[in-house]
């Protein structure tokens, strides 16, 4: 199944791309799985967001809901098929 990471803000600049697409052989792939693939593919951009199996502090993963809002995903073990095979990757926002 095709799964997508949409990069936002800082991650768009860092990776140089708007989205990363990976085709998994089966549909049991999790959020962690697609991140691992992206880290492999983007090693030359020093794209690393996992540490000790979890997300590095400040890295935010969302999925787009049916009504076009976004919901935060806290566990990288979440199966992609449960969230429309697509995640949005952002960093902790600025402002103030």
């Amino acid at each position: 199944m095709k799964a997508v990471i949409e990069f936002v803000g800082y991650f768009r600049t860092k990776t140089g791309m708007e989205r990363f697409i990976y085709d998994f052989d089966d549909d049991s792939a999790t959020v962690r799985d697609i991140i691992i693939e992206a880290e492999k593919a983007l090693r030359d951009r020093e794209f690393v967001i996992l540490r000790d199996g979890g997300l590095i502090d400040g890295v935010l993963v969302f999925h787009r809901k049916a009504n076009d809002g976004m919901e935060r995903i806290f566990t990288p073990d979440t199966p992609l098929r449960e969230i429309g095979n697509s995640i949005v990757l952002a960093n902790l926002m600025g402002g103030g």
Partner: protein, 609 residues
Amino acid sequence: MAGSMYDRMIRINCTSGTSTIWNVPEDLKPWIGGMGYGTKILSDEINPAIDALSSDNKVVLTVGPLTGTTAPMHAQSCIVTKSPLTGTILNSYAGGFVGAEIKYCGIDGVILEGASEEWKILLIDDDKVTFMSADPVMGMGTEETETWIKENLGQDYKTMSIGRAGEKVVRMAALFSETRTFGRGGLGAVFGSKKIKAAAFRGTCGTDLADVEEFTRLTAENMKIVKDSCDQEYNLVGMFSRYGTGAGMGLIQSRGALATRNSQYGTFDKSNEISGQYYEENFYTRSISCHGCPVHCGRIHKFSTNDGGKTWARGPEYETMYSLGSQLMNGDPDVLAEANRLTEVYGIDSLTIGVTISFALECAEKGLIEEDGLKLEFGNPESILGLLKKIGEREGIGDILAEGPERAAEKIGGGSGDFAMQVKNSGFAAWMPRRMVGTGLAFATSNRGACHKRAPIGAEITGQVDMLSYEGKAVMVKKNQDVVNAIFTLISCRFHEFMTPHEMYPAFIKAATGIEISLDEFYTLGERIWNLEKLFNLKAGLGREHDILPARCYNEPVKGEGSESSVLDYDRWQEMLTEYYTLRGWDYNGIPAREKLVELGIEEYIYER
């Protein structure tokens, strides 16, 4: 044993042109400093019902126990006064270097009283005050004024000034200090009403610390915490350090929460072009610190003006990327940089003026206003820069708009009040109440109007909590308000608290001053100050009916992709407001109950209708 507070302030009488030393009374010291001192003094010394532009108003400029010390991120000074924009009590802050200099004058602050007949520059050398004629600098922009003072009166002075907007008593005029800004609430207009064009401080007293060894140890520990945060690639403050405060446009845009086109939309298709990264990559950029700060979130940019000239400005900050960017459909980074520069020149709050301009542009679209010789269109640089100047000069339609968005809407009529995006006449900060319910509650209940500094922004925008839920938001808002009030006595930069364990605050206070205060007592101090402010506002004539958002928030769904057509449910919102009042120990009308005031030890300030 000498501590880091001097226990003395200077009362500067602008009417008589004299000054006296005021030894701080014992009952002020438990308020620690900064916002605590300012709120208590103003509550004791002025009638909340006065006209903020009259000579009865006072300006209480203070520093805190950590100002001017090696404790990182404590550069700010605080001004408390009555706001001519909102009619509330106002607390406003600026970073930069004037805070440390005030401390080094051997004082905890100054109190400006009365009003001068002639325009003056105040020179404060340690505890000696000189009133100088401001003739040479009248009409000058803030940077120009302050440069003149340094070149002609002394390079060592640290300065603050108003621009033409303050001179013309524009209600949203700000007070600048070496490009940092006491932005909110119209301080520039208060200085204008007192005919004080500028003030300059030069101190030779340095500062003491009650326990140098312990303070040094705490400082090293805090510096390590800050460094470790900044070293993490994705850490919020680390992002500020590397990219300035504009680092987060991407996330806000993707959450459909970037106020665009007078808050009609939640996304702006040109947000990338006006983001922090864009400026970093495309303009000559240097990082700048405030006093003692290792984060250096400030940025100097060199850029070109519309007429091909070369200039520079510090900023724009994130909030300005919204207020003079997305809110006006302005995706041109040069125009944004120029608009930001003009706010520095005129000395105007970029938030309220951005919202006032976007309000005016929508009025024009609806045929409610027009201006001879000036097109009024969203996204049109001529409209944006033209209106900015007219407001700064109080010219033409600018004279009405200079009163602030709410007052302007009252004059303009035609239902325009529905889309004046303000609370108590203070323009919205960069967040959308329809998209972030808790933040909207913070806007409405802020004692100074539409303030984001005490809003649960991080928790909502990161999805830690559901942005759109009403549950649990009242608790979050109250907690933020109390904590931030407490740290604004020290005076911590807002970003400091994002990284620092709260236990360090009482430890720092003790090492700096010898004062022992528990963490709970510190939080309670914040709550006490919040209540004192609320009592001031009630006595100034503001009630529950003023803790409200404009009708757009309750009636118009946010348009655009990712914004979920969010709108606030009025009844549910009012229930949340009541919940918030109850949590605070206030009645349905937001009046603090006697029991709450007794608990806080401020019963004598009670408001009874």
